[in-house]
Symmetry: C2
Subunit: 202 residues, 2 copies
DNA sequence: TTAGTGACGATTTATGGAACACGTCATACG
DNA sequence: CGTATGACGTGTTCCATAAATCGTCACTAA
């Protein structure tokens, strides 16, 4: 396992990592994860293949970082919706629509990245679990808000309601389903949001 | 396109078809769809490869029929739940649990068949659409029953409610998701059923 | 006329050896 | 001592070619 403090000076470390990630971002987007080799990334920044491994344990570690950044961009959109100051029900609906929109966007405008996200799921990279956990926490907070504001019912245990909502999100956010549902995804998201909101209403 | 009345006598036709389907059922289950050849099926019933094509247009047509039978078995379980005479809410909950249970069963006890169902989805065989349509009609009838009995609210347009429920079923019935969720599938089905029932309640 | 088949073209899939990619290490250089 | 690399073992991926499969058709035999 690679760890900090292997002997490199901090600032240089950081710059090199960024360089590698930038190159990876570009190459993965253009040619996909599988088709770009570590040698390609090394050449792009004018260093040797071996040196890449001073900054990342493996090619997969680079892929995971890129994947994480991709998830972060989606999560930023979710956070925007969360911080909009709108009523909880509206914010929850926005989560459905945001995830659907971002999923479609990934599928059509950034296909290679979509493939990476898919591979990450299939190969059990940790990135997906992290995303799930963060999403759950946002859902929990918006439901709690709604309950405090008297918008939502309080009988159902909070955790049960949260897990139900996250499950109901699957059809509009799981990359595998995007391919089957993409033509009706926005409408589906809206329908599911409506269903979920009725299930939460007082 | 193959059609009835190509010249064969009825009873013989039917028997041969059955023989072929029986052989296909056994071979597909043992070796999978891809690995069994039309020649294998022909040998199994003691006839020539060419003769098979008198009864089916293609290997895929045989696969579709087997797939349809598999869907039919699941749908039979759903129908059992529908005809149980229980309140609509209970019947709807049973649909969730039945589909989850049958999905798990297919995944673990009939893996080759699961692969066929998956291939059918990916290659766009008509069997999946038929299943969806039939499932939707059952959902519609149970929701309508619930509304008539005063169990369910009537404000949401019926079709909208139906489509929402069918969407909410996806996480527990889509074969692709089974592989990701199988360890919590029954619990997930229960949670989703609870959420859906709250969304429908008066 | 009807049940049934062998042979065949076109396409798909298996094979196995060569080329390539991943990740490690000993080492070079300032 | 920190930055950086070439060379190499091991596993994976390509790719050309051989083999097998799909589906058709002309044909046989009762």
């Amino acid at each position: 396992m690679q760890s900090a403090g292997k002997g490199q000076r901090g600032p240089i470390d950081h710059e090199r990592r960024e360089q590698i990630l930038d190159a990876a971002n570009e190459h993965f987007r253009h040619y996909g994860y599988k088709k770009t080799t570590v040698a390609d990334l090394a050449k792009a920044i004018g260093l040797s293949t071996a040196y890449i491994y001073k900054f990342f344990d493996s090619k997969r570690a680079i892929g995971e970082e890129i994947c994480r950044q991709c998830h972060e961009r989606v999560m930023a959109d979710v956070k925007d919706a969360m911080g909009s100051g709108k009523p909880a029900s509206e914010r929850l609906r926005l989560i459905f629509l945001t995830l659907a929109r971002d999923g479609i966007d990934l599928l059509f405008n950034d296909r290679k990245m979509h493939d990476i996200v898919l591979a990450a799921l299939e190969e059990g990279w940790s990135t997906a679990a992290d995303f799930d956990a963060e999403l759950l926490s946002h859902v929990r907070s918006v439901i709690a808000d709604g309950r405090d504001a008297g918008e939502f019912e309080r009988k159902t245990p909070l955790e049960e309601a949260c897990r139900g909502v996250v499950l109901a999100l699957q059809p509009v956010r799981h990359p595998v389903l995007l391919e089957f549902n993409h033509n009706t995804l926005i409408e589906d998201a809206s329908l599911l949001a409506g269903l979920v909101l009725r299930s939460l209403s007082v």
